[in-house]
Point group: C2
Chain length 245, copies 2
C-alpha cells in the first residue's frame, strides 16, 4: 500500500463543497470516483480543509491510499484524465509515508480572498470574486485586521455549525492589500473555524466602507458572540491557497 | 445627439466575437440590444477592434450616438442592468464629440495573451488561457519577439480573411514575461492585422519549446507567406486590453 499526497486546484462553483454530501456533487466525491475509475480501488480521499459550496482552491492538499503501484507522474496524469470534465486539476502528486495525514498533520493553512471594488458588474470574475460597489479603504481594512491577528477566542467569527472543539485559534496573518480595483485579503493560521475567513472579511468590509472603526472590530472580537460581528461574505472570492506540513 | 465612448469588459466564451454575425450571439449585438432596451433607439455600436470568437476584453472601447439625454453614470448603470445576464460589463462611459470614432481615430491598441505552462489541466483558467504542457523558455520567446517589433510586412502573420489594405504594420511592443507557471505576451501597435497577435504567439511558442530559433522567426517574417510562420494559437488566452486616442 502506498499513501499519496496530492495538491489540487478547483473551481468551486459547480460543487456543494469539498465534502461528500447528499445534495449535489462534491470535490471529494469527484476525486474518489476518479481514483476508482483508474485503479478499481474504493478509497476515501482526505482533504486538508473542507471548503464550502462555491469556494475555490489553488492548492488544496489531500491524501489517499492505493494498493496498485503507480509512479507519481503516471498517477497525476491518469487522475487528471479521469477527472474530466470536472473543473478539478491535480497539480502535484507525491508518495508519502503513512504518518502523513492531509488534515491531521497539517501545521498551517493559507487562504486568499478576492474583492473587486468597483461600480460595474464583473464580466470575467463573476463567481470568482466578491463584487463590492461601495468604495472601500483597504488601508483601514488592513489596520483593523491586525486586531484579529494572534491567539483569540474567535466565537464572534464562527459559524453556528462549526464542529471545532474550541473557538480559540491563533491567526498568524491577516493582510489586506489593494492593487487597482482589486482588494486581496491574505489569511494564514494553523487552522480556522468554520466560516472564519468569510466572517472576518465580511467584518473588514464594514471597516473599509467606513461603517465600522478598528474599535468596533475589537469589541466584536471581545464579545465572543457571532451576532456582534459583521456578515458572512459570499464564497465567490475565497481560495484555499496552500497547506503546510 | 450625444456621442458616447464606452470602455467594456467581456468574457469572450459565449460569443461568436465582437462583430454581429448570423451564426450566434455577438458582443456588438448584445450591446446594441441593451442600448435599444434602455433608450428605445436603434443604434450601431462601433468597436475599436473586432475580437474573434472566444477572445476576451478587459478594455474594449466602443462608441454610439443617442438622441435621448443621459448622464454618463446613469447610462453606465442602465446599460449594465440591461446587459444582464450577458458577461459584458461597461466599466466607463464618457461623453465625446462627434469627431471621436472608436475604430477610426484610435492611435493604439494593446493586447495581452496568457499562456499557462504546466502539465496539469486548467481548472480555474479553462477558456481563459492557452494551456501549453511542454516547457517553454520565456526568455527565448522574448528575444525572438524583438525580431517582430518595428515596421514590417506581416503577411506571414496575417489571416487569409484579413481585410486590411496593407500587410505593413508597425509593432510597438511585443514583450514576453514569465511569472511562475504563467507566461504573458504583451502586444501594442497602432493597429493589428486579423489574427496577427495569435499568429505571432503561435510562432513564439515554437521558439519557447526549442523547436524554432530566433533566425527561424526572422526567416518566417521575411518570407511574407502565412505558411512559413507558426500556427494560430487558440483564442482562449487573448485579451483586448486597451485602446488609445
Amino acid at each position: 500500500m502506498q499513501r499519496w499526497k496530492l495538491t489540487v486546484e478547483y473551481d468551486g462553483r459547480p460543487f456543494v463543497g469539498w465534502q461528500r454530501q447528499d445534495n449535489g456533487p462534491s470535490v471529494q466525491q469527484s476525486m474518489e470516483e476518479a481514483v476508482q475509475r483508474l485503479s478499481g480501488e474504493v478509497v476515501r480521499v482526505h482533504g486538508s480543509g473542507r471548503t464550502d459550496a462555491g469556494v475555490h482552491a489553488l492548492g488544496q492538499v489531500c491524501h489517499f491510499d492505493l494498493e496498485k503501484p503507480f509512479t507519481g507522474l503516471k498517477l497525476r496524469d491518469a487522475l487528471n484524465f479521469h477527472l474530466k470534465p470536472a473543473p478539478i486539476a491535480v497539480l502535484e502528486v507525491e508518495a508519502v509515508t503513512e504518518d502523513f495525514h492531509a488534515r491531521l498533520t497539517s501545521t498551517g493553512r493559507a487562504y486568499v480572498y478576492r474583492i473587486v471594488n468597483r461600480r460595474a458588474p464583473l464580466a470575467l470574475d463573476a463567481g470568482r470574486a466578491w463584487h463590492v460597489t461601495r468604495p472601500l479603504n483597504a488601508e483601514a481594512m488592513h489596520e483593523a485586521a491586525q486586531v484579529l491577528v494572534g491567539q483569540h477566542d474567535f466565537s464572534s467569527f464562527r459559524a453556528a455549525l462549526c464542529q471545532a472543539k474550541s473557538p480559540v485559534k491563533t491567526l498568524d496573518r491577516l493582510a489586506v492589500e489593494r492593487q487597482g480595483e482589486e482588494i486581496r485579503v491574505h489569511a494564514a493560521a494553523r487552522s480556522f473555524l468554520h466560516h472564519q475567513v468569510r466572517n472576518m472579511v465580511g467584518t473588514l468590509e464594514l471597516v473599509g466602507a467606513g461603517k465600522w472603526t478598528v474599535d468596533d472590530v475589537r469589541r466584536a472580537l471581545d464579545a465572543r458572540d457571532r451576532a456582534k460581528a459583521g456578515p458572512t461574505c459570499p464564497p465567490d472570492g475565497l481560495y484555499f491557497l496552500a497547506a503546510r506540513y
